[in-house]
């Protein structure tokens, strides 16, 4: 694809609704107040694993201001979750610290919270099982009574398994000069969206319709899921999305509090709102998958990779969320990040009495990438090879069809790597002598991620309706939604580019399932790609109408009108866009300037062996990160981050750069500070005080070098970009710390404590070596 000169695309454009968001006018879920609205509160279990002997709600029911109380006995519902193994309200047993036992709706939040305390639950506490390896043992109790592990996977506590392979594994092993086998442990971390989870439900008893103000990322799947849960017809449920205060994957699954809120509204006949406190948010919102990865990799004497063999045990927690499907992404990374002649992948998600994980920006990829990039460094060290060189000779390339069947029609992997190596001064820093209290190191990490959606549902498409009114204003009704990532702005930019309508005459409507056309939702870095292509399709239809009317009005024969500044141009002819729209409306054919288009990406489903070209295109990126480690305190200071990413084409530079910086910040937190500390199923640090996010003073400069490969599948050649910047950050930081200190870390986060421990172990080893050396000299 050739680079076409564009007017707006590629130029930094301010956020479409920026003014509302800086002035306090934007309405988030927390800000909604409806007439007669009640406030809900949920009683959760005291113990992560117990039998419920009895629930007594009588005191709560008569508490002044309480309007209704529900328990599992009062409701007729279906289980929820990806595997439908999750009861909305629990009876019989509780299986993790999040488990919902009863819910109250009351006049205000304070009353609801007090009423919850009045509910008496008698438990028979059980030991519970908190280690997935323990849960796999024959004598372990069955954690989830709805799990189908015994029939499907040969173990009652396996929630989901994946097996994948390609190539001649044994042959490639035989070819290997070096084989590295390591075990990695990844922590449980959380999205920590600045706005806590929330929902407002309003059931209208007159017409049986339910309206939900919900911050889901996937409104149409959500509508279907909640309808299934409540045994309602999906079309009776209207999902309205208020402005969302952070998503990052946390709002892909529907969680019990959402149908619970709907049930409270159905029962009370009034609108009900549930808002989480920050503590609840830490305890209840989904997390990234904690997992143990055992990775074996090989390379031949030239450093060419030969094979990867990986076995993953994931802590599924008590119920199964979308998070159980992260292996779709992980197997892609193991099979196809760098050239991999042979690969064998096994992963098992194991039920435990821990809380369940969900989806999180990167979707398993940061974990996989950390293990792969560490193994690569180790192989380079063993072969005596340069760490940049080993990556470059194995890097993905344009035209490659990977063992899994991904087709790289464009690929910026090599230029991305070369760029960060050069710009960061990698060769010099990596080899400089490491002495003194403060040690500097640098590390590399690369990543592969879907760039054009991912076919995981029967449709990965998005609909668009366009309405050009009599005055030349354009309304874009898009199925896709904005969760802060800036997709609305990109859509408006596309409309400006194509139709020459100025920004202040463009409206984007995207928050109401009763109005907008279908879309699968915000995930897999797909929005600009899929919604952008959908919009382009709709614009083409709109232009056909406008072109033929304009030609008719000016009595010329052409289909090649240019659109600029609210006008249409052809040679010396020009006509106002609004005039053409009015003529279509008020003159023959008496139509409105309204069109509708549905775009389905060309990606295909994987086959039974998980092979196939699942995405419209693929994004590649590398990061080189420089750190300084204080060997006295163990503190790691990230000095600078160099990111180069194949984004296909830059659409909105300022928005894209913001995605880079935000992704790197979360990735750096994953590498260095963030960890949810669980003891026997209970969270010990449910606050920002105990769970450390990076702050302004921790944040390094982020140097970003986009690589433009102009991929034909994406709008103007672009690829999805939102998740990528987070993915290789932890890997690159871990490699940098190891370069500085000469010790390796196989678990995250790399805390000061871990650094000091590793340094003292290294010292002891050196001492021992010296003693042995002395002894051998003396004898």
């Amino acid at each position: 694809m050739m680079k076409k000169e564009l007017k707006v695309i590629g130029k930094s454009t301010k956020k479409l609704d920026g003014k509302a968001r800086v002035s306090g006018q934007a309405v988030y879920g927390h800000d909604i107040e409806l007439p007669n609205m009640l406030h809900g509160s949920i009683l959760r279990t005291k113990y992560p694993c117990a039998e419920i002997i009895s629930i007594d709600t009588s005191k709560a029911e008569v508490f002044e201001g309480v309007e209704c109380v529900i328990t599992a006995n009062d409701i007729d519902v279906n289980n929820i979750s990806y595997k439908r193994d999750h009861p909305i309200l629990k009876k019989g047993t509780v299986n993790c610290n999040r488990d919902e036992i009863a819910a109250v709706a009351a006049r205000n939040k304070e009353i609801a919270d007090k009423a919850i305390q009045l509910i008496e639950v008698k438990y028979k506490v059980k030991d519970g099982i908190y280690d997935p390896f323990e849960a796999l043992k024959d004598d372990a109790p069955r954690v989830n009574e709805f799990g189908k592990g015994a029939e499907k996977f040969g173990n009652k506590n396996i929630a989901e398994s994946f097996h994948y392979e390609h190539g001649d594994l044994e042959g490639q092993k035989a070819k290997s000069k070096v084989i590295i086998k390591k075990s990695y442990e990844l922590p449980r971390v959380t999205h920590a969206c600045m706005a806590t989870s929330n929902i407002t439900a309003d059931f209208n008893q007159l017409d049986g319709r339910l309206t939900l103000w919900s911050s889901t990322q996937v409104p149409f799947l959500y509508q279907r899921d909640i309808a299934h849960a409540l045994k309602m017809a999906p079309s009776l449920i209207r999902v309205i999305q208020p402005i969302i205060g952070g998503g990052f994957g946390s709002k892909l699954d529907m969680h019990p509090f959402e149908p619970i809120c709907a049930l409270l509204s159905i029962k009370s006949g009034k609108p009900v709102q549930i808002l989480f406190s920050r503590e609840e948010e830490f305890i209840l919102s989904p997390t990234r998958q904690p997992m143990v990865i055992e990775l074996t990799t090989g390379a031949d004497e030239n450093g060419k990779f030969t094979f990867r063999e990986v076995e993953i045990i994931k802590d599924n927690g008590a119920y199964t969320s979308w998070g159980a499907t992260t292996p779709f992404v992980m197997m892609q990374t193991y099979s196809s990040l760098y050239q991999v002649p042979a690969c064998k992948f096994d992963s098992h998600a194991i039920y435990t009495n821990n809380p369940f994980a969900g989806s999180f920006r990167g979707y398993g990829n940061p974990q996989a990438t950390f293990s792969i990039e560490t193994n690569i460094d180790l192989m380079a060290e063993e072969l005596g090879m340069d760490k940049g060189e080993i990556r470059l000779i194995n890097a993905n390339y344009k035209g490659e069809i990977t063992g899994q069947g991904l087709i790289y029609k464009t690929c910026g992997a090599i230029p991305a790597l070369e760029t960060v190596i050069r710009k960061s001064g990698f060769d010099q820093i990596v080899n400089e002598p490491k002495t003194g209290r403060y040690l500097r190191g640098i590390g590399l990490g690369s990543m592969l991620h879907v760039g054009g959606g991912a076919k995981i549902y029967r449709s990965d498409g998005c609909g668009t309706i366009l309405k050009l009114d009599d005055y030349g204003y354009l309304t874009i009704v898009t199925g896709s939604n904005e969760i802060g990532q800036g997709s609305e702005t990109v859509l408006a930019m596309i409309a400006i580019e194509e139709l020459g309508i100025p920004m202040d005459k463009i409206k984007v409507i995207n928050t109401d399932t009763d109005v907008k056309p279908w879309d699968v939702g915000v995930h897999a870095s797909r929005t600009s790609f899929v919604a952008g292509n959908s919009l382009l399709g709709a614009i083409k239809l709109l232009k056909e109408k406008l072109n033929s009317k304009a030609s008719e009005l000016l009595d010329i024969e052409t289909e090649n009108w240019d659109y600029m500044d609210g006008k249409m141009y052809f040679g010396e002819f020009e006509i106002n866009l609004d005039k053409v729209a009015r003529e279509i409306h008020f003159g023959p054919p008496h139509e409105l300037c309204t069109v509708s288009y549905f775009y389905e990406p060309p990606s295909s489903f994987q086959d039974k062996e998980y092979k196939g070209d699942v995405s419209g295109n693929y994004a590649f990126a590398s990061q080189a990160i420089e750190v300084e480690v204080d060997t006295v305190t163990g503190n790691i200071n990230v000095l600078s981050v160099h990111v180069s990413q194949d984004v296909g084409r830059v659409l909105n530079p300022i928005g894209l750069q913001g995605q880079m910086e935000g992704g790197v910040a979360t990735g750096a937190g994953y590498a260095l500070t963030e960890e949810m500390i669980y003891e026997k199923g209970m969270l010990k640090n449910p606050s920002f005080h105990g769970y450390k996010l990076l702050t302004t003073t921790d944040m390094p400069p982020v140097h970003f070098y986009p690589i433009e490969t102009y991929d034909e599948a994406g709008p103007y050649g672009s690829k999805g970009a939102g998740e990528a910047p987070l993915i290789p950050t932890a890997a690159a930081i871990a490699n940098a710390v190891s370069n500085a200190l000469g010790v390796r870390f196989y678990s995250l986060p790399i805390t000061a404590e871990k650094v000091l421990k590793a340094l003292s172990e290294k010292k002891n080893e050196l001492k021992l070596e010296r003693v042995y050396f002395k002894m051998s000299v003396e004898t």
Binding site: G18, S23, G24, I483, E661, T696, T697
Partner: protein
């Protein structure tokens, strides 16, 4: 208890219970929803408002303590006629807003800090600007653009 205070330039007298938090007075009683509840534990800064020139976390402050004081919330920075305040303009211009939930707090902190610096005739260094925002968490942006925006307030 009866308290009298000024908020966004308007004098108000209110009967409040002694345990009422300032954030609840602002959001629930006065219905100014631009001040955001991110944690209600004094850890995130989303609820920052300015009282007599100082940026404070309204979730840690009792409403009764505003008696006789002057509060500015995010709504006080832009009126129906007046355009956005410079701190707001810069935030948009530099791309410091993604989801926007932290934005009110970031802007109020920046406003208090820059008012003080400008009054004292100081242009702070980038590190000082960063330090001034250390108590404000953001999960979306990685802070760089927010810091850029807060620095740009000192440009002429």
């Amino acid at each position: 208890m009866k308290i009298a205070f000024k908020i966004n330039g308007k004098s108000i007298t209110k009967e409040v219970r002694p345990s009422l938090l300032l954030i609840d007075l602002i959001r629930d009683v006065l219905k100014l929803k631009g001040t955001k509840p991110g944690c209600l534990e004094g850890e995130c800064g989303a609820c920052t408002v300015i009282i007599d020139g100082y940026a404070i976390n309204s979730c840690l402050y009792l409403a009764i303590n505003v008696n006789g004081k002057e509060i500015t919330t995010i709504e006080g920075l832009s009126g129906t006629k007046s355009p956005l305040h410079k701190t707001q303009e810069k935030m948009i211009e530099h791309g410091g807003v993604q989801c926007g939930f932290c934005t009110s707090g970031m802007i109020m902190t920046t406003k208090a800090f820059s008012d003080k610096c400008i009054a004292e005739g100081i242009t702070p260094t980038r590190d000082e600007v960063k330090k001034s925002l250390e108590g404000n968490l953001c999960r979306c942006t990685g802070y760089v653009k927010i810091i850029d925006a807060a620095e740009a307030v000192y440009e002429n």
